[in-house]
Amino acid sequence: MKKTFFRHLAVLLVMALSAGTLIHISQSVNRAEKKLARLDLSISNEKETERVLEAEWSMLNSPERIESLAKKYLDLGLPQPSQLVSGSESLEGTEIAGQAGLIPASAEMTKAGPFPAVIPRKPPHGVSPSNEQENSPE
């Protein structure tokens, strides 16, 4: 009788244990699924934000806007042909000689190189494009 009792007790214990484990696993899966869904949602939100920012960037950089801002704040006009000379000779032997297009005749040479104003294609991290681009001439 004692033997039967212990056998039954053992079965019950195993059952209880497996039930507990099952609940634990199902809970973990549940949590993991929620976490996954949350991550998916945040990825999709980030992607959407990226798209919005890309559209905004394109809008803020439209040549029409840059031109009007350059005219209004920097008093810049359209460059004249006489302001453009070929710079290939002066750049021979340098790293950028291959891409040496032109440099504005009026531009001062800086230590960084003959291209004083290079507009970055994408805004630097953490800088909102709306503040950044107002002063950059195209």
Partner: protein
Amino acid sequence: MILRNVRQNIIHIEGEQSSALQLAYGRLILLGSIFALLYLVIAARTIDLMIVQGYASESGGQDSEDLSRLARSGDLLDHVRRGNIYDRNGVLLATSLKTPSLYADPELILNKPKVAKALTQIFPDLKEEETLAKISMKKSRYAWLRPNLSPGQQEKVLELGEPGLAFEYADSRIYPQGNMAAHLLGYTDREGRGLSGIERSAQKTLAQGQDVVLTIDVRLQHALRREIQSAVEEFSAQAGAGVILDVRSGEVLAGVSLPDYDLNANSLYVSDVEKNKEILLNRLTMGVYEFGSVFKIFTTAALLETTDAPLDTEFDARKPLKIGRYTINDYHAKKRLLTVPEVFMYSSNIGSALMAQSVGAVKLHGFLSDLGLMDRLVFDVREIGWPQVPDPWGEASTITVSYGHGIATTAIQLCTAAATIVNGGLQVHPKLIMKGGAENIKPQARIISEETSQKMRGLMRLVVTDGTGKKADVPGYYIGGKTGTAEKSDGKKGYSHKKLLSSFIGAFPIDNPRYIVFVMVDEPQGTKKSFGYATGGWVAAPVVARVVTSMAAILGLPSDQYVKEQDISLPLQKYVKPEHPEKKKLASNAN
């Protein structure tokens, strides 16, 4: 309790029945334990649901709301977004963004007149009465108010704090550059199906979520649009159009049709096509025009290519030419014998008619066909006009076609043919969608010889140095071209002297052309500054000069490469008779 009683009874029972009772007792214990365990599981699950999970969802309330939204909106991540459209430098031209649309649940709105008034303040184009009627609907719990709200508008609606106003999110097409290349880009319907332009012709690619890269350069596009717009305003013209074309690859770097419209507001224009047809018409690819004298490029090329006529061949332009019911005059008649370069640079209609006669009707027809001027052009947008060609093609039509009347083509087709003439004689396939690799290379048939192409470049340079297109000259750059001034057809009344189509087709650097720059202005009115003239030389040529100046700065083309002594028009000067200064001034005013 029962169990204890049973056990007490067992104590008193002895003998063979006791083992049976023990078995029953064991079974009862087992059953009881199973039930106890079940209750335990239920209790545990209840605790889990009510406390563990309940607490978790409370701490992340926002998240669970988002998650349920995610579940409702279906598989957000698997959803294929319509592809973007970029220019050749990667500037975004069209994209799809999730934008909110506003709707109301009439049952939840308490103070309806107040809400209607507030909404009309946020959206000035909404009418208060209509809005009130919408949000007062009985039975319905959904009153659709407005699509595609801007972030600012959405904020204002949220500030109202009205529980009955809600948003629905859906993709809508955004064009960050507004009017830029509006006609070429085209637009989509609300479901995101392309209805015109690239949106329509590249529908399949875009719908699969793939991006499309165009050959357009937004900087050049802007420069071209700005200059044509200013000419349209200066000469109080009806419309304008222009294109910058790479003569070797056929890539369209810029294409403008004015008046244009903001693509983001396309639904306003598309809703009434009849009223807005002037704005919606793509004058570059769909508009079919008689271009006038620019066609002399093809007549002269046909003469040089199909006959052995040397450049000093003379054509009698002393008196108007009568052919059938037509009398052909020159705008500013020289009234003398003209050589081939003179006919071209002074844009003599009589001379061109005589050239066409010496080429012959059949040969001229064949030549124009080879240039692709007789058939509908194959292009990356589907809105392409059919050229109007004289039928039957007789002697009279050969004559009128020689100076660009009686034949009407699209501007893009005209530029494609001109590109073939100046690029060394190879066929050009214009394109708007950038394709990489083998797809990019199409066989280019030879249409005219290298020698004819070279002669034509010299003649086109002569037009700018000494002929009707002097205003297209930019010191330092090597521009060649041809002016065109066509009288527009006035229905049954024949041609109108007051309604002109003034154009200029330029190529540069003309010794080895890279670009075609074409500008046309529809119905310009002469101004004081232009001494009342509204010809191609006065209206369109200066625009081309300004566009080339801008292009040089954008593309980085140096101005110090031009050597006057090597000008390709110099060898042709010997065929040009020197003129009296007064006459010369008059000539520059001609088309």
